[in-house]
């Protein structure tokens, strides 16, 4: 079944980037294993553990489209001009950057908000999953009940400050643990978002 999912590497203290968007130490696990892992020839080659590779392969094979925020687009410098992971990407923004609005642009800009962006991404994804990126977009998706699953790749580090994944939520949301994959360099925690909540 098609799902809307979010996957983030997060420090134990809840940050997905440092104060200046730096992710170096958080992403150590992408470069500390002995298995070469590459999604497509345009993507970087990661070196991860066998357990992490199996899990990422499974997740990313099922990925059909991405929805993320304008900040993610800016910080990544438009992913070098290619859609990451080789799937259609929908960027939620108030003001589309005109230099990327053209025929055959690798990016689709959505000005009508997160819900509409996820709708369009679902159409593009067919029967595959939609991945949500960016902390703000993820928070909005959670609050709007649009997210089906969350995977936290917990990095063994305390950052002390930075950008929090879970911020501005304001309301409690029940989760159900689906899977825990434990490796020395990262702990993969996967949860289903429980939507039929009792009052």
């Amino acid at each position: 079944m098609r799902k809307v999912t979010a996957q983030f590497t997060m420090s134990l203290d809840g940050f997905i980037a440092g104060p200046n968007d730096e992710v170096g130490t958080l992403f150590h696990w992408y470069f500390s294993g002995d298995i070469n892992f590459q999604v497509s020839s345009k993507d970087p080659i990661f070196k991860i553990s066998r357990a992490s590779a199996e899990l990422l392969r499974e997740e990313w094979d099922r990925l059909g489209a991405i929805v993320t925020g304008r900040r993610d687009f800016e910080v990544s410098e438009a992913w070098g001009g290619n859609s990451p992971l080789g799937v259609p990407i929908f960027i939620v923004t108030h003001t589309p950057p005109q230099e990327w609005v053209r025929e055959h642009s690798p990016f689709t800009f959505v000005t009508e908000g997160v819900e509409r962006a996820i709708e369009r991404a679902k159409q593009a994804a067919g029967d595959k999953n939609v991945g949500v990126g960016g902390s703000t977009i993820t928070q909005q998706s959670l609050k709007a009940g649009l997210l089906d699953e969350i995977q936290i790749d917990l990095a063994p580090i305390l950052l002390g400050s930075g950008i929090r994944l879970f911020d501005h939520l304001g309301e409690s949301i029940e989760l159900e643990k689906i899977r825990v994959v434990d490796t020395p360099d990262v702990t993969h925690l996967r949860y289903r978002v429980v939507k039929e909540r009792s009052a």
């Binding site: 134990l12 203290d13 809840g14 440092g18 130490t25 959670l142 969350i150 936290i152 917990l154 063994p156 580090i157 305390l158 950052l159 002390g160 400050s161 929090r164 994944l165 879970f166 939520l169 304001g170 309301e171 409690s172 949301i173 029940e174 989760l175 159900e176 643990k177 825990v180 434990d182 020395p184 702990t187 925690l189 949860y191």
Partner: protein, 203 residues
């Protein structure tokens, strides 16, 4: 010398209590759900006379038992002490050091399990280490963890991750004034209804 070990239950979004935690509502608004795993298993375990009998999974029971056995002293904040009502005089882990500015005189008597420390966290940890000998000093208060991390006093961090997002409340990892700090994973146990994570602080 024993270690200084932190242990608390935390939501996936990093809260250890909901908003408005008070003696009437120890875990704050919506916070009781953090402790569902304490009462949803089939193995009974008693932490102390001052806390309710727990019913946890077999995996969680093993972890709790080891933690109780290794505990040589506890350090708590005054707010936690007040919220718990002094655990009716039976704190989970004794001897018990309470960091406070003012001493509650009603708890000062011959044989009291509590030592009130008015000269700060560093002093409380030092006194607790002496009392604990070879065993561990256990910290289960968010503000004490934060101060210990800022002072470089924490050896291990154990969090029991509850499957929920609280959305607001008392953040565990807050007010930190540290450089990025590497942790070493000691243990990950995916028990029913909770995931036990243990890390060593690399110094």
């Amino acid at each position: 010398m024993g270690k200084v070990v932190f242990n608390m239950t935390m939501s996936l979004d990093g809260f250890v209590a909901g908003p408005n935690d008070s003696p009437e509502k120890g875990l704050g608004d919506g916070g009781d759900a953090l402790f569902n795993w304490y009462f949803s298993g089939d193995t009974e375990i008693s932490v102390s006379e001052g806390t309710p009998m727990l019913k946890v999974s077999r995996q969680s029971a093993e972890i709790l038992k080891a933690s109780i056995e290794n505990s040589g002293a506890g350090v708590w904040g005054r707010k936690t002490f007040d919220i718990a009502g002094g655990w009716g005089g039976h704190p989970p882990g004794s001897p018990c050091f309470i960091v406070t500015r003012t001493i509650p005189q009603e708890w000062v008597y011959e044989g009291s399990p509590f030592t009130f420390v008015t000269d700060g966290v560093e002093s409380a940890i030092r006194q607790a280490k002496q009392a604990a000998g070879d065993k561990d000093v256990v910290v289960s208060t968010a503000s004490i963890l934060q101060q210990c991390l800022n002072l470089g006093l924490m050896d291990e961090i154990h969090v029991d991750v509850a499957p929920l997002l609280l959305g607001k409340g008392v953040r565990l990892f807050d007010h930190l004034n540290i450089e990025p700090t590497t942790l070493e994973r000691i243990r990950v146990v995916a028990a029913p209804g909770v995931t036990h994570l243990g890390f060593r602080v690399v110094k």
